[in-house]
């Protein structure tokens, strides 16, 4: 969690250099959800996310240098520079992809779980998304299908009160709660404090228990808050869509700080550990940033190279070549 925080802050610090020439949607303030959920996932489990994917990617074990290189548009990026910050992927880590059309990766995540089920593979697939995404029909269609087929999907909604600059009040009726929409399909659903890593962890543990024991999908709605602007490195509490006071209230609930205080009190780690980790993460970030900056841009001829997938084998259709009849 601290790692996500420090990396996001590192990105924010360097963004103004205009070397990361793509939109960035930082998750500072929301780290506990990514960290708390992914901590309970195995390598075989998989996740998909949205425009605000850095935390999920990192928590799921995504490669940091490849992420920064991607944001720099480099050939060494996790998507070879084709995608940028909004299109992260790390197959080895089970992070199957993030894409910025609101709501659209939710049914895709359900489909990944469905495909796995059809193939007889046992894994949980996590769909991370914001509360704005629950306004899209795609979310509802995805919930319905997951419930119908009892798929091993964990739906994780980070309700940060805003969709870009739009508050909940202009988008959802006051009576509406995301977790109740899932309940109406018979999906196990809970709402929790997304700024409390321990609570996230325990609710996710319960939900994964249900899913892994064949109980079908589950949904978790976490209340949380984005600290910085919707897109970009700055604070924007001054531009008018939300107040400084609201921000300060939420900052006081800093998920990183709360975990830290508790851990220090519990003796889970001490100030020295903390310093060491901070230094380690900062060094890791610095090295990754250097890697990103030093990497080459993709060569012009790569632009047209990966529009279509080509079959690997020389004999393009070998795999299916046994005709049934003579």
């Amino acid at each position: 969690m601290l790692r996500i925080r420090l990396i996001e802050e590192g990105i924010a610090a360097h963004y103004a250099e205009q070397q990361m020439r793509c939109p960035v949607h930082l998750c500072i303030g929301q780290e506990a959800v990514a960290a708390g959920v992914c901590d309970l996932l195995g390598r075989d489990d998989q996740a998909l996310s949205t425009h605000r994917a850095h935390g999920h990617y990192l928590a799921k074990g995504g490669d940091l240098p490849a992420m920064l290189a991607e944001m720099h548009g480099k050939a060494t990026g996790c998507a070879s520079g084709m995608g940028g910050s909004m299109h992260l992927i790390d197959l080895a880590a089970g992070f199957l992809g993030a894409a910025p059309i609101v709501g659209s990766t939710i049914p895709i995540a359900v489909g990944v779980a469905f495909g796995a089920m059809l193939r007889g593979e046992r894994r949980v697939v996590v769909a991370f998304f914001g509360e704005g995404a629950t306004e899209e029909g795609a979310f509802h269609e995805a919930l319905d299908f997951a419930a119908l087929k009892k798929l091993p999907v964990l739906f994780v909604c980070e309700n940060n009160l805003y969709s870009v600059y739009s508050p909940l009040s202009v988008r959802q009726s006051p009576a509406r709660r995301v977790y109740r929409l899932a309940e109406a399909r018979g999906i196990v659903s809970r709402r929790g404090d997304g700024n409390d890593a321990a609570e996230v962890h325990s609710l996710a543990g319960e939900a994964l228990g249900v899913i892994r024991s064949g109980g079908g999908p589950a949904l978790l709605e976490f209340d949380t808050y984005r600290w910085r602007e919707h897109c970009g490195p700055n604070y924007d509490n001054n531009i008018g869509y939300r107040g400084e006071d609201e921000f300060l209230r939420w900052r006081a609930l800093c998920p990183v700080e709360r975990l830290r205080v508790r851990a220090l009190a519990d003796g889970a780690f001490d100030a020295e550990d903390e310093q060491r980790w901070t230094a380690e993460i900062q060094a890791e970030f610095a090295a990754a940033l250097r890697f990103a900056k030093e990497s080459d841009f993709p060569a012009p001829e790569t632009m047209l190279a990966s529009v279509y997938a080509e079959r690997q084998s020389d004999e393009p259709t070998a795999r299916h070549c046994k005709p049934r009849a003579a």
Partner: protein, 350 residues
Amino acid sequence: MQRELKYFQAIHEATELCMAADPSVYVIGLGVTDPKGVFGTTLGLEQKFGERRVMDMPCAENGMTGVVLGSALAGMRPIMVHQRIDFALLAMEQIVNQAAKWHYMFGGRKSAPLVIRLLVGRGWGQGPQHSQSLHAWFAHVPGLRVVLPSTPQDAKGLLISSIEDDNPVIFIEHRWLHNISGPVPEGMYRAPLGQARVLRRGNDITIVALSHMALEAHRAAQTLAEEGIDAEVIDPRTIRPLDEDTILESVGRTGRLIVADTSWRHGGFAGEVVARVAEELGGQLKCRPRRIALPECPTPTSPALAAHFYPTAADIASAACEMVQGRKLRLAPASAGHLDVPDPSFAGPF
């Protein structure tokens, strides 16, 4: 003598063969397991392969396209079926933003092998929302392949190639082709994606015709033959990729071009073909190219208007005759009977 099958049977056979050959192929769509089996194309497949490989779905075209894409990322090879293109308009986001771009936008790390079968309705009051032929839209999108076979043999060979292809393939079937018969080889065979079929050789004029219009063009060519005009009929079979070479070679030889499309003229795919020829063969044409396509209105439902809406072989033949011989064609009056049915076996409404 070669075995004959109907077009819908050819689709069925291709599906069955691919399912038998590859356990990752599965079929999903509204009604694919029902007693009609999508005009017979999926009939009995559930019984043969089981409910985990042939399945109905909720009425949720957009989300289910995402699901199908996700399953492809997980290693399956889905065949999704929509009984009308019009319904698939709900799924354009998933098809065009996600499926078409998945391989590219992640730098080629993951392919999305999936086939979406889209049917074009016609006749018996299908009307404005059950009859659109929007292949031109899909053809405009890099990352997709767009296939629209006009013969049973190609329906089978192209569907097999589509299922085996590692990319999202839009496979378009005109409802009025389902019941035509033609020779279909047994067993597995592939028609290449990106290669036109010359349905008839000729030297006076080239008629490039898509989907059901290939049939009309073929009929027109027969009429034209009686008038001493030797027409070449080309079915591009895929419009992304488009086999430009075959078309250019032909028009280079005949010097004349008609493009017949099942959709509207304005902004339609016929324009792409005309443009390619103009770009490559510019001054070499003997006369101006022509398009034969739908008039610029939604499909009217009344059968009284359908006759004026859909162009036929006669329209193609007249245009060709004017272009080659500079004269109006005298056609025998169209055979009696309704113009809103494909063949006498059709008893409406779908």
